[in-house]
């Protein structure tokens, strides 16, 4: 049988997939518990006097940022390499990801980086902007989950060995 991927890149790609899977789980948990709350402008105004809620927002932002970096900087480039492509820059990686339909829009993926900054700095000065950023980040999380699911489907279609199988093949 002919392999449809470069086996020398399989381990790195699978490691990135496993880490991304864990980070998806962490972000899904925080997204679920955070947005189970009734979040509106009043809620945002109370953040300063409710450190436990502010901490939850921080966890969400941090997990969102980690998953986005893991997908954009590790998972997509390593799967591109696995498939014989070697995009040089972040923008090349995103163009390839768009072509592979791992993401709908490179513009939306890269634009979502701006949310992290908005969610760290704005709640003291501009309540509405912070609220909008939080709700936009909720949607952007779904974009990340969908990118992960698409790459996971690519992995399945390539019939990659599992990590345990890969380890057992090592001398």
């Amino acid at each position: 049988m002919t392999l449809r991927y470069l086996p020398e890149h399989a381990e790195n790609a699978l490691l990135a997939l496993e880490l991304a899977r864990k980070e998806v789980g962490h972000l899904q948990y925080t997204q679920r518990t955070l947005f189970a709350l009734s979040i509106d402008a009043n809620w945002v105004q109370q953040l300063e006097s409710h450190p436990e809620l502010a901490e939850k927002v921080d966890a969400f932002v941090s997990r969102f940022g980690r998953l986005q970096d893991q997908i954009g900087e590790k998972l997509m480039p390593r799967f591109a390499a696995l498939l014989g492509e070697s995009p040089k820059s972040m923008l090349d990686v995103l163009a390839y990801a768009e072509k592979m339909q791992w993401i709908d829009s490179a513009e939306a993926f890269i634009g979502a980086r701006r949310l992290r900054n908005l969610l760290v700095h704005e709640y003291m000065t501009d309540v509405q902007l912070f609220l909008q950023a939080l709700l936009t980040a909720r949607e952007a999380s779904e974009m990340l989950f969908s990118a992960f699911a698409s790459i996971e489907a690519t992995a399945a279609s390539l019939e990659l060995p599992g990590m345990s199988e890969l380890n057992s093949l090592k001398p």
Binding site: L91, E107, A112, R114, L118, Q128, L129, Q132, L135, T136
Partner: protein
């Protein structure tokens, strides 16, 4: 001002596509100064309209400008009809160059 005419065209195009024909965009900070070298690209987008979701528009502008100018340090601020006053907007307006 140290943006090339191609960069200016690309920025104007993004402003019009995302915010409409009456949007204004200024470059400010070090990129507005001829004698400086390197540095971030600071852009101030302004519209008289009231946007439903400024955060989402900021992301869209940021993504579109990054795709147009390359993945370098780009800082974007946005003011619509509902944006609270802040010193940064006055500075950007006073020192910036309209593109």
């Amino acid at each position: 001002m140290r943006l090339t005419s191609n960069q200016v065209q690309a920025i104007r195009h993004v402003a019009q596509r995302v915010l409409g024909a009456d949007a204004r965009v200024r470059v400010f900070g070090s990129m507005a100064l001829d004698q400086h070298k390197g540095g971030d690209i600071d852009l101030f987008f302004e519209t008289d309209a009231a946007l439903a979701n400024r955060a989402q528009i900021l992301c869209q502008l940021s993504g579109a400008i990054t795709l147009a100018l390359g993945d370098r340090k780009i800082d974007i601020i946005l003011k619509d009809a509902n944006t609270p006053l802040a010193p940064i907007f006055d500075i950007a307006k006073r020192t910036g160059i309209l593109l």
